[in-house]
Symmetry: C2
Subunit: 327 residues, 2 copies
């Protein structure tokens, strides 16, 4: 798969595209008020993998002739999806009472929940304003639909916190809404703006949604198995806050009596070693990991043929990286 | 001014318009998840005066011939501005740790801050989605600008909490952003959608912004002087949370030594009687009230001539009611 990076034209196209996205992101969030700018500069430190904007650009390039360039709307949508994502991170940290994100302190920890709530609102508002700058009502409508669904997923998840009866189906329903729709829309809109056929646009959305679900399962595994210094945020946070993760849901479904109780006690005691042992013994960790890999394979199988084959290969590689990452 | 209500055609137009707005508002917030719907039905109880949608409709009617009707976009924008307003109420209650709103318990008090944060996000997202249903990119762009400004105002206000050096100019800068721009946009867009001239659209925005500022000063006065049962929310809340209100800013500017200290001690002790006495003695309450009345008069003087004169008279009456209200 290293072959992809020997396509220097593609690599340059992506690097240029991401640079434009960063510029757009920063200029959109420039305010006359230092108090506002300070908070925005803090949030920009959260920007890590830039997975969603990368998917917009690569999905766009996949359906663009090598002699042609991406449209300016690609940059707008790429920066918009990243800004929506940032808003969810800022508000998620309030919901989770999180102190650390990307090895730095969270806005809520540094400046209080009030500032974090309002900063998240400012990011959501700017995301919609930025998207409107594309002057295409269909984009606004689609992204509004996506964020409606995303918030619904968060609200349903909240209503089921500490609910041990949460089953696998409901878990996937929540994750599809909370995480997968935005990743799906990134691939979908990237391809659509490049003029892909309706059929390919739908296939790209499905590809992205599968990636989003696999991404969430990998996050669940990192919450359990990750090294705090590498992941850059607190471990066991999801479980402590009563969010059932896939390994835990599988463990509850597979065990009764003492083994189930041991895992719940380990969460209570914040004993990550005991929890890992319990979930390893029940095979729940392996089963969750296998599920994530299977979903990535399904995504790759469904990836349509594209105009530019190296971009397609990069999409396949990005899919693999989702379940290989340790941060 | 009772003459307005003898214009039964106008009254019927407004009542019909508001009924359409309510229907649109409720249908937009219908989710397949009971957990989401429960929260939305709770928020609909906050809907009180419907000032902003009323201003959209009346501003629209003012520039519409009596033989013609409002456009469907008027209902969309009216419901959108109300939804944006509801989102700010829900998040403001989180910021203010408020327990009571419109004589009912707040979402944060009933369901926790997490649910209130996410419900507010759901309302913002749905507001933008609803607005996109008008398929007019200029509307999205304008409302995105409005909510960016609104959030900036909130962030600046937050950064100045408990800051006794906050002066009148900064207060008005915050209030213009936090409260007035949305009211201004309601009048502006109502008129614009009805085909008013650019000059009249600008004048309508200014009219609305003045109303918004006067509205906030009246809110400040009610926080100090209001009867809890009538206002329907906690009194002295703003001051307790370190938000300087106009009467308090004027008092700080007018007093030194003991009279200033007495007011600050009264806030600390939640002694509303002592606080009223101190601010009455310094003339700060009368001065704030006079300011609100002067701003309403300025608004009324700037109101342009319109197509339908009874609608214009109603706008003048709505302006007067802003400073006459006790809830």
């Amino acid at each position: 798969m290293t072959r992809v990076f020997t396509d220097t034209v593609l690599a340059a196209d992506i690097a240029e595209g991401l640079a434009r996205v960063k510029t757009l992101f920063e200029s959109q969030l420039t305010s006359p008020f230092p108090a506002v700018n300070d908070l925005c500069r803090h949030v920009e430190r959260y920007r890590g993998k830039m997975l969603r904007p990368t998917l917009v650009l690569v999905s766009g390039l996949a359906f663009t002739r090598e002699t042609e360039s991406l449209r300016s709307e690609h940059s707008i949508i790429a920066a918009t999806v990243e800004m929506i994502h940032m808003a969810t991170l800022v508000h998620d940290d309030v919901l989770d009472d999180a102190q650390v994100r990307r090895r730095g302190e969270t806005v809520n920890f540094l400046r209080g929940n009030e500032a974090a709530v309002m900063l998240g609102d400012y990011l959501i508002s700017n995301a919609f304003h930025l998207c409107s700058r594309a002057h295409d009502p269909a984009l606004n409508l689609r992204l509004g639909e996506v964020t409606n669904t995303l918030c619904e997923g968060e609200l349903v998840q909240l209503s089921r916190r500490h609910d041990l009866s949460l089953d696998e189906n409901t878990y996937f329903e929540i994750v599809r809404r909370k995480t997968a729709v935005l990743v799906g829309a990134s691939c979908e809109l990237g391809a659509q703006l490049a003029g892909a056929s309706t059929e390919d646009v739908v296939a790209m959305r499905q590809f992205g949604e599968h990636l989003g679900v696999a991404f969430q399962i990998q996050d669940d595994l990192l919450d359990l198995l990750g090294d705090e210094a590498t992941v850059g945020k607190s471990i066991l946070r999801d479980l402590e806050k009563g969010k059932l993760t896939l390994p835990m849901i599988l463990h509850i479904a597979r065990t009764h009596g003492a083994p189930r109780a041991r895992a719940l006690e380990a969460i209570e005691a914040k004993d990550s070693v005991a929890l890992r042992d319990a979930l390893t013994a029940s095979g729940s960790i392996d089963a969750a990991r296998a599920k994530a890999v299977a979903i990535v394979e399904e995504a790759k199988r469904g990836l349509p043929q594209t105009q530019r084959s190296h971009a397609r290969e990069l999409l396949l590689e990005l899919a693999d990286r989702i379940v290989a990452r340790d941060a």
